[in-house]
């Protein structure tokens, strides 16, 4: 085992500093004035066209990276003393509420602030909604046919024995989707919590898996590994658009919806451009573009019309907003009860 040490050493001596110097000492920091740094919670295929439109409209380049809501918030918390970004973009209001508690955001009221309904804005402007996202039932068509079922049209339809061990939905410990779902059940039961939990306990044997993320069950339902699930409409319509044979339906008793938001980071390095992005995203300028890019969010701004085919899906649906005060006051208790009585009885 003889080794030509000098050759190895020479190669290492030449290459290492070169590689180090070139690659590592010059990270291309986006310091130009006309660049805004963003963490996007929206998936890249929706965020990218929006940001490209923003650049076209304003000449400001958006430098962004995508994280799930929990990861994005954990990062912003960890970077609190030396923020890396100016704006946190997209993601459920819930995530932003948690960020407000941690003191991560700077209050800012964009021009659209006054036009928005109260549930689409934080009273002091610590976050502002850019879209609305209702829950839906999504079922696999092949599964429905095999079991001679119609797409579920009531919460009680999901209790049928045919669904035994075939439903996937999100876990309330980690997912805003799940919290919205649980408050939907409480709401349709007239805020009678005991009755709502009775229902959820009855549903439990039919649940194959409580997934960590809100959309975690969409692929299994699309593939037919699970028969049905409860998801946000964007995830469900996206599954359908990918070519999976799924049906989307709404319960006649009604189902909840949750807003998506944007916020300015406290201590942001480029607050001025960050505010420009917020101005744009909260206005019809951005929300009017959802349809063009097949982004199936419901616009938050009242002046933007809902895209016709999405409006068609939503036409017969009974959708109600989750009361923010009620949910905020009861969330922890309800989730704890869900863990104790439904998840681990």
């Amino acid at each position: 085992m003889t080794i030509n040490h000098s050759a190895l050493a020479r190669a290492a001596r030449v290459l290492a500093p070169l590689a180090l110097g070139l690659a590592m000492l010059a990270p291309n920091f986006a310091m130009a004035a006309e660049t805004v740094n963003v963490y996007s919670i929206w998936p890249e295929n929706w965020a990218r066209p929006m940001f490209e439109e923003f650049e076209k409209a304003t000449g400001i380049k958006v430098n962004f990276i995508r994280f799930s809501s929990g990861e994005a918030l954990a990062r912003v918390m960890a970077e609190k003393n030396n923020p890396r970004i100016d704006v946190l973009f997209g993601g459920p209001v819930e995530t932003f509420a948690a960020g407000v508690k941690e003191g991560l955001f700077e209050a800012y009221k964009p021009p659209s602030f006054a036009a928005l309904p109260a549930r689409f804005r934080h009273p002091e402007g610590l976050w502002i909604a850019i879209a609305d996202d209702p829950l839906v039932f999504m079922t696999n068509n092949k599964f429905l046919k095999e079991n001679n079922l119609q797409p579920p049209a009531s919460w009680n339809d999901l209790l049928a024995p045919a669904y035994k061990n075939m439903i996937q939905m999100a876990d309330a410990r980690t997912s805003g989707t799940a919290v919205t779902r649980i408050f939907s059940v409480i709401e349709v039961n007239g805020r009678d919590e005991n009755k709502a939990f009775e229902y959820m306990k009855k549903l439990r044997p039919n649940v194959q898996l409580y997934t960590k993320s809100g959309g975690g069950g969409t692929l299994p339902v699309g593939l037919g590994q699970a028969g049905a699930g409860i998801f946000f409409i964007v995830d469900a319509l996206d599954t359908k658009a990918k070519g999976y044979d799924v049906a989307i339906s709404f319960p006649k008793e009604g189902i909840g919806t949750a807003a998506e938001a944007i916020a300015l980071i406290k201590g942001a390095k480029n607050p001025a451009v960050g505010k420009k992005l917020i101005d744009w995203a909260t206005s019809p300028a951005m929300q009017g573009q959802f349809a063009k890019y097949k982004i199936n969010f419901v616009p938050a701004h009242p002046d933007v019309a809902v895209e016709p085919s999405l409006a068609q899906v939503l036409r017969a649906a009974k959708i109600f907003p989750i009361d923010a005060d009620y949910a905020g006051a009861n969330r922890k208790r309800v989730v704890d009860r869900w863990i104790a009585e439904v998840l681990n009885p």
Partner: protein
């Protein structure tokens, strides 16, 4: 080392009350028990499977072509992010799985739970055991076995009383590595464990990303350190009591002989082939998914996914290659030097240095990632947003494989070899360079290979370290999976597999100029 210190200090300050909370929560206690059970099973079964492959490869007298194929199949699981295997598992063994439902017609199958998590983790991690054990088996002088045989021992007797005992340091090290890897793995259980089998790393991840509770997550993760440390100390105690020197410098020419009976050889080969076939099936599925429009919906052939990754994904591919290219040699050196220091030198704090180096490895990646982020976001040392932080994380997190391999190999080398060199007037640095270094090179390449592979495939820690300037292929894969774009995710994975294999082949080719003995290319990272 500095990094590790910062880590353990930064995390250690506020955790005692947190740990108390963990101990009292009944769900967490259950998750803790599950983690231990899973890690122990993965440790035992993974080491056994790894040993089976290493033994077959080292003693089976296989034709070189076959050996290369087995090597390649064994390396596959190491080379791909665990998410993809987990999804292939669900697709194949789920309630409407390709195998369970379409092929076997089974209904009401539950894919979520201990058995599938165990299956997937063993398949993912046994190559580490293989890589650790192969050089050790190769280093055992087969004359020893030959002598035992000629002294009248049966083949089984030789295996039991000579071969196996000599492998003890390697087996213990492999077990430790697998145990720690399973303890730290959150991705596989995230997808496969389901609600009936919660484990602690997943709980810690959820505590942070779901409940936004950094502190609680850190406390949960730190609870995982105790079993890892326990196994580590046990392993030290067990291995440390005896001597395993087989490389004495007095070896004569190796006399080839048959250490296994022909029937046994067939059985071993069949067992290896079966495991390899399962692996190949999973990756064939992956390749297929990358070439069709959408798995399970539209199976028309398309190259669209590859077009996507070579346009939108190009930056991530470039960044990943640069970072992996830098981390690889540094990580190999780190493993070699630290392993050498730990095994051969006496100095104060040696043991704590060894332990601290293992902490990076045994902690769940989520915590390591956040700890790095917190530690290096503020002056004096601002590294977030640079490639440095990712490289550092890779070196310190995956270097320990090299450390363990070096330590295990050095325990086989007789000290008299070095003493002879020094006795003949060579300085201690010359001795290291001329005697020890060539002997531990297999371990160096094992460490180097693992660091490179992990640099290409790691996800849990780096998700917190990628930045606006530096992104990674694995983060793209995860994103595509969460977006339901299995096609691009599969295409990225196939690309990662291809790159790793090309790089390993390249290293092998370059090394041929340095080494007199030719060897199968992939045995490189196994030592050979």
């Amino acid at each position: 080392m500095m990094l590790s210190r910062v880590l353990s200090d930064g995390e250690g300050g506020f955790t005692f009350s947190g740990i108390a909370a963990v101990v009292t929560d009944r769900h967490h206690v259950r998750a803790f028990g599950n983690s231990l059970l899973l890690a122990t099973l993965v440790g035992f079964i993974g080491t056994a499977v790894g040993f089976l492959f290493a033994f077959t490869a080292a003693r089976g007298r296989l034709p070189k072509g076959l050996l290369t194929w087995i090597d390649a199949a064994v390396l596959l699981p190491l080379v791909s992010p665990p998410f993809t295997t987990a999804i292939a598992m669900i697709f194949s063994f789920g309630p409407r799985g390709l195998i369970t439902y379409d092929l076997l017609g089974l209904k009401n199958i539950t894919v979520y739970g201990l058995s599938s998590t165990l299956f997937s983790e063993v398949l993912t991690y046994f190559p580490i055991a293989y890589l650790t054990l192969r050089p050790i088996l190769a280093a055992i002088d087969s004359n020893l076995e030959g002598m035992a045989l000629s002294l009248g021992a049966t083949r089984w007797g030789v295996f039991r009383t000579v071969t196996l005992p000599l492998c003890v340091p390697g087996l213990a090290n492999a077990f430790l590595l697998l145990f720690a890897a399973s303890l730290a793995d959150f991705a596989t259980p995230l997808i496969l464990a389901g609600n009936v089998f919660p484990v602690l790393p997943t709980q810690a991840y959820l505590q942070i990303t779901g409940l936004f509770d950094l502190r609680g997550g850190a406390a949960l993760s730190l609870a995982l350190l105790f079993p890892a440390l326990g196994v580590f100390l046990l392993q030290r105690y067990w291995v440390g009591r005896r001597h395993y020197v087989t490389v004495t410098g007095k070896g004569a020419g190796q006399v080839p002989f048959d250490s296994i009976a022909p029937a046994m050889r067939v059985a071993l080969l069949a067992a290896c082939a079966m495991v390899a076939a399962i692996i190949v099936y999973f990756y064939a599925l992956l390749l297929y998914a990358s070439l069709i429009v959408a798995l399970g919906a539209n199976h028309a052939f398309t190259l669209q996914h590859y077009r996507v990754i070579f346009t939108e994904g190009l930056k991530a591919i470039g960044d990943t290659l640069i970072i992996a290219g830098i981390a690889m040699p540094l990580g190999g050196l780190y493993g070699l030097l630290l392993g050498y220091l730990v095994a051969k030198k006496e100095f104060p704090g040696r043991r704590s240095m060894e332990i601290v180096s293992m902490i990076n490895y045994a902690l769940p990646g989520t915590i390591v990632g956040i700890a790095y982020l917190v530690a290096f976001n503020d002056p004096p040392l601002v590294l977030t947003g640079t490639a440095f932080i990712i490289v550092a994380c890779y070196i310190f997190r995956y270097g320990p494989t090299g450390i363990r391999a070096t330590v295990a190999l050095l325990q086989q080398i007789d000290k008299s070899l070095e003493e002879a060199s020094q006795g003949l007037g060579a300085s201690s640095s010359t001795t290291f360079r001329r005697i020890t270094l060539p002997l531990v090179l297999p371990a160096f390449f094992a460490g180097l290979g693992v660091v490179f592979i992990r640099s290409m495939t790691a996800i849990s820690a780096t998700i917190f370290l990628v930045s606006l300037s530096w992104t990674l292929v694995t983060v793209k894969i995860l994103e595509n999976i969460t977006e339901l774009s299995l096609g691009p995710a599969a295409a990225f994975s196939v690309l990662v597999v291809a790159i790793v294999f090309v790089v390993i082949a390249l290293i092998g080719w370059v090394l041929k100029f340095f080494r007199s003995a030719s060897m199968p290319v992939t045995s490189l990272i196994g030592g050979g």
